[in-house]
């Protein structure tokens, strides 16, 4: 038997094939009215996990959002200022913001992701120490800011100054690496929808970060997810915040341009 190649089929054929194994996929795609065959990770989940994500009372990520809402108006640092003192109501000021990150930062002449942007505000506007990567605080604030984009299309990557960084991210995505010698694309472009052991391989669209992952029993950032995939192929992970991760995040968000934000998503 030669393996089928869903990633190389037409979107329609791929969806038809998948629908047999994963009934949820076809109907989700129909609901979204998407024609281009791109599917969020939630399309590959069980019905129970999708219901958990969709119900704010059951979605464990909403607890982190609530913590983020409290942090938003807490006065911090030498300046004694809260996020809300500069940005007032997040529902207005942060609408669509997470959907366009990582964004170009002129002072650094490089893209920064949302967590980095939050820590820049802490350092420069609040006079406070940065939150540690993956700390409950940074995840809570990025989940709260992320929620303000829920339901909106991803717009990251439109700034022309980002072009060379997107290309570097693309190069990394296509590089075979690690002791298993696999590229991100080997799984997420060429074999999505198939089972890797027990796990359906999603298309790697970062629509819902930060996520609540059942396997972690907690929240985690997109970089934490990328470290998992790199460790899976036995490649050397980067330090949190490394330019390579930000470029990869930027490439993935650009690849998901126009898809709908789901933060805070739940993943198995």
């Amino acid at each position: 038997m030669t393996p089928r190649q869903p990633g190389r089929m037409t979107a329609r054929a791929a969806l038809a094939g998948l629908a047999a194994a994963l009934p949820a996929v076809a109907c989700l795609a129909q609901q979204d009215g998407r024609q281009d065959g791109r599917l969020s990770g939630s399309a590959f989940m069980s019905a129970e996990t999708r219901e958990m994500q969709a119900d704010d009372a059951a979605n464990p990520g909403m607890l982190s959002v609530l913590d983020g809402e409290a942090l938003w108006s807490r006065k911090e640092g030498a300046a004694g200022r809260a996020c809300a003192d500069c940005h007032s109501d997040a529902a207005t000021s942060m609408r669509g913001v997470a959907a366009r990150f990582p964004a170009f930062d002129a002072a650094r002449n490089a893209p920064v992701n949302l967590d980095q942007r939050i820590n820049i505000c802490r350092a420069e506007k609040q006079g406070a120490a940065p939150f540690a990567w993956e700390s409950p605080e940074i995840l809570a604030l990025s989940a709260y800011v992320g929620l303000q984009s829920r339901g909106l299309p991803i717009t990251a990557g439109e700034d022309p100054r980002l072009a060379p960084f997107i290309e570097r991210g693309r190069g990394f995505y296509s590089l075979r690496q690690g002791q298993l010698d696999l590229a991100c694309a080997s799984c997420h472009d060429d074999n999505w929808g198939r089972l890797l052991g027990s796990s359906p391989i999603p298309q790697a669209h970062p629509t819902g970060y930060p996520i609540y992952r059942l396997e972690w029993q907690g929240m985690g950032s997109l970089q934490r997810r990328l470290r998992n995939c790199l460790a899976g192929v036995r490649a050397e992970p980067f330090a949190y915040g490394a330019p390579e991760y930000v470029e990869l995040e930027l490439f993935l968000m650009t690849r998901a341009h126009g898809m709908v934000m789901e933060t805070p998503a739940v993943r198995p």
Binding site: G178, Q179, L180, L182, R194, L195, L196, A231
Partner: protein, 155 residues
């Protein structure tokens, strides 16, 4: 240069080379060399015959062989089997031991685009994690154990 010739040249060169440059060539550093003939490695990598029972355990292991991440096969006790690759049932009837050996040692010689990892190669890899660097996925003896096991899968 044919694979066989390369193997021979390497075997000759090894004796003259300092240990650290041995990684280049068809056998990983410090491991026995082998010769490719056509689409096979006809000779076993070690002097000790493969053990099919050990081979089966390696194939089923999620830490060692990782085969069932991608393949399914006659492992009724294993609940989670992948479907990225052909079912291993009957593979011993389809392929000779020499072909099975080359497929495991370095399948990219058969198809440079295959996603199946080369289990007995350390060169030409990018960004290998520190814990795994310069180590093959399996040892020569483990390859022989797997070949012995796969050869028993005849239907």
């Amino acid at each position: 240069m044919t694979g066989a010739a390369a193997g021979l040249v390497l075997a000759l060169a090894l004796s003259a080379m300092p240990a650290q440059v041995r990684a280049a060539g068809p056998a990983p550093a410090g491991e026995p060399a082998y010769a490719v003939v056509g689409d096979e490695i006809p000779a076993p990598l070690t002097g000790q015959p493969g053990d099919a029972a050990r081979g089966r355990a390696i194939a089923a292991s999620r830490q060692k062989g990782l085969c069932l991440l991608c393949h399914s096969g006659p492992f009724p006790e294993e609940r989670f089997q992948g479907n990225l690759a052909p079912d291993l049932a009957g593979v011993g009837a389809r392929l000779s031991e020499g072909r099975l050996r080359l497929r495991l040692v370095d399948g990219r010689r058969l198809d440079p685009d295959t996603i199946m990892p080369s289990y007995y190669r350390t060169d030409g890899l990018n960004r290998v994690g520190a814990a795994w660097r310069d180590r093959t996925l399996l040892t020569a003896q483990e390859i022989e154990d797997l070949v012995a096991f796969l050869a028993t899968l005849r239907n």
